[in-house]
């Protein structure tokens, strides 16, 4: 059995003259929870569509569980459980009817199906609502139902598009718990998300793509470390001047220094020595009111890699 769950090799996807994905190479190992991050329009959906066989690459190769997606998409779809962002549930059908319809599409054996549906509805905490139409469900209930529907045919690989989108905090936590349970059972899970906290909690590794290119690929902790060891939030009175910010930025071991709202945020590498130099520079030019030291967040990593401008 191959150890690679998904492999994209030099994949390019063009729509006319527009290049949505540019020579992307990524490998997802079996049993890991892999996150695909990127701003709107970065190419996440296009990548996922190619992995799930909804579209074909213009160039390059996509293999899922060792099978070429172009050569045998139906075989791959049989092994792939998908939770689309829109849930794609039939609102006029009941929760149970939605699962039965999915079972028919995936040719799940009828023997034992009733028990399987019951156990999945229990997993989604929807057993009491099995005969209710999906149109009467809350966003969180629909999300949970979409998740167990994806599990119905016992897929080797689960793809979850924006797990926490449009659901309340409790439902999001419940979904995260389900995904982490799947991880413990050895399932391979691919998620796309814009919630960095979600990626941090769930993912073993993250790929950040922007404008169709891979800009970073590592574990959440390594990605944070690559941004710097420590972030110093320093509040001064009066506010730091441009000269002070430039002076701090020029210090050895300082990765970045940004002034905002009467504070200066400094990212450093090299531990206490560098921090000491920064504090000395600040105190020499203004009055230091408060200093906080913390690890860099994934948000900061993400913004530093993809920029701050708004995307459509």
């Amino acid at each position: 059995m191959t150890v690679t769950a998904i492999e994209l090799i030099g994949v390019t996807k063009r729509f006319g003259s527009f290049t949505a994905i540019d020579n992307l190479s990524v490998r997802v190992e079996r049993g890991e929870v892999f996150g695909l991050l990127g701003p709107n329009g970065s190419g996440k959906t296009t990548t996922i569509n190619m992995i799930s066989g909804l579209s074909r690459p213009t160039a390059g190769r996509v293999t899922v569980l060792g099978v070429d997606m172009v050569a045998d998409p139906q075989r791959i779809r049989r092994s792939l459980g998908t939770v689309p962002q829109e849930n794609a549930l039939y609102e006029e059908l009941t929760a149970e009817a939605n699962l039965r319809f999915h079972a028919d599409l995936f040719d799940v054996p009828r023997k034992g199906l009733q028990e399987r549906i019951t156990s999945l509805l229990e997993l989604a905490q929807l057993e009491e609502r099995r005969k209710s139409r999906v149109s009467t469900f809350s966003g969180g209930m629909k999300r949970r139902l979409a998740l167990v529907r994806a599990l119905l045919h016992d897929p080797e690989l689960l793809y979850f598009d924006e797990p926490g989108l449009g659901v309340d905090v409790q439902s999001r936590r419940a979904l995260w718990d389900r995904i982490l349970e799947l991880k413990e059972r050895g399932s391979t899970v691919l998620i796309t998300t814009n919630y960095l906290e979600e990626a941090n909690v769930l993912c073993d590794r993250l790929a950040i793509i922007d404008r169709g290119r891979l800009v970073a690929l590592d574990s959440p902790s390594n990605l944070r470390r690559s941004f710097g060891d420590t972030v110093l939030d320093i509040r001064t009175q009066p506010a730091p001047t441009e000269d002070l910010v430039r002076e701090v930025r020029a210090l050895q071991g300082v990765v970045s220094a940004i002034a905002s709202n009467g504070s200066i945020q400094v990212t450093v590498e090299g531990g206490g020595d560098v921090t000491g130099k920064v504090v000395t520079a600040v105190v020499a030019s203004t009055s230091l009111e408060e200093i906080q030291s913390r690890e860099p967040s994934l948000d900061e990593v993400f913004l530093s890699l993809t920029g701050k401008e708004l995307r459509e």
């Binding site: 909804l54 998908t82 794609a88 549930l89 059908l93 319809f101």
Partner: protein
Amino acid sequence: MGSLRAVLAIAAKDIVTWARTPSAIAVSLLPPIAFLLIIFIVAGATGRNPVAVVVEGNGPQAQRLVSILNDSDAFRVQAAAPDEAAHLLDTLQVAAVITIPASFDDDYRMHRPDPVRIRINNLNLDFTNDLRRSLPAAITRFYAGQPDNPVMVGVAESDLRPHDVDLVQFELVPVLVLLLTLMGIVNGGLATAREFEDLTIKALLLAPVGRGVLIAGKILGCWVMTMLVAMVVLILAAVSGFLQPAGWYWLPALAVIGLIALAAAGVGAALGGTFRRFAPVSAVGINVAIYLFFLSGGISVAAFLPDWIQALAHFTPTFYGVDALEAAIFYQSTENLGRDVAVLVLTAAGGLALGIVSLRRRLDAF
């Protein structure tokens, strides 16, 4: 086996969804129901004109003429005194007042000129002419029954068809065809458009089944749904006596219904794949079905319409469907059945091809 299971599941899902979507039911059933109501109202209004009859003489001949007017298919007779009759005419409760004078019997015996008077509310030429034709016809009938009948010229009628067909019955066939085309086109379209609008199409595309299975399921669902509704209507019409194909003529009737439904389902799938939205599919589908209804003789016998409409009708597949159903249901005839069925088979094949090609292109481009 898996493919068949998926086809049946998609079809069943579409039927259940339709049955649980009041707007889809309304869109497909209300137009035929509205036309049916109009037909009942028009048939009631134009079949027999309401008239008041003032009988001033009580002789046997006067009474015989009243009886003939009563039995006539042209009038709904209400006996009235002169003042009352004038009031009924003024208040539009009757279309005319027929007065049989007190001297009627004497004048008849003496062979003096016919003294029957009629005062008509000539507010439109259609029923005015009906009245102008009907009273002389009743008087001719009155004379025809007399032993000393002075009118020697008579009418010898021979009918092309074995029996008369009531106007409502006759109009039910095009309404049934309207129902079939509406159900097929609009519901086939909506069932497909809804998948794109709600993005449930993703659930289908991510299943391990081929595009052909998805398309077959969509078209089968629409066809079965259309046939189910058509069967309910046909059974109700048969039980109530309005539409009763005799003996084996049920078979061509059902075959024609099935072919129209199949063509409409294919066109509906194509429409849904093209527009992918509920509103434009409803609007276009209803308009297409209603134009087909008019062109296939929905409001009148197509053969009696202006030449240019007749020419258009001959290029309208539902025209052949109506013709075949009328022959099978009303006249127990196979006249033109071969031609009609051939046209409908070609239309069904064309509709299916259109649906398959259009939907496949849309699914591939998703």
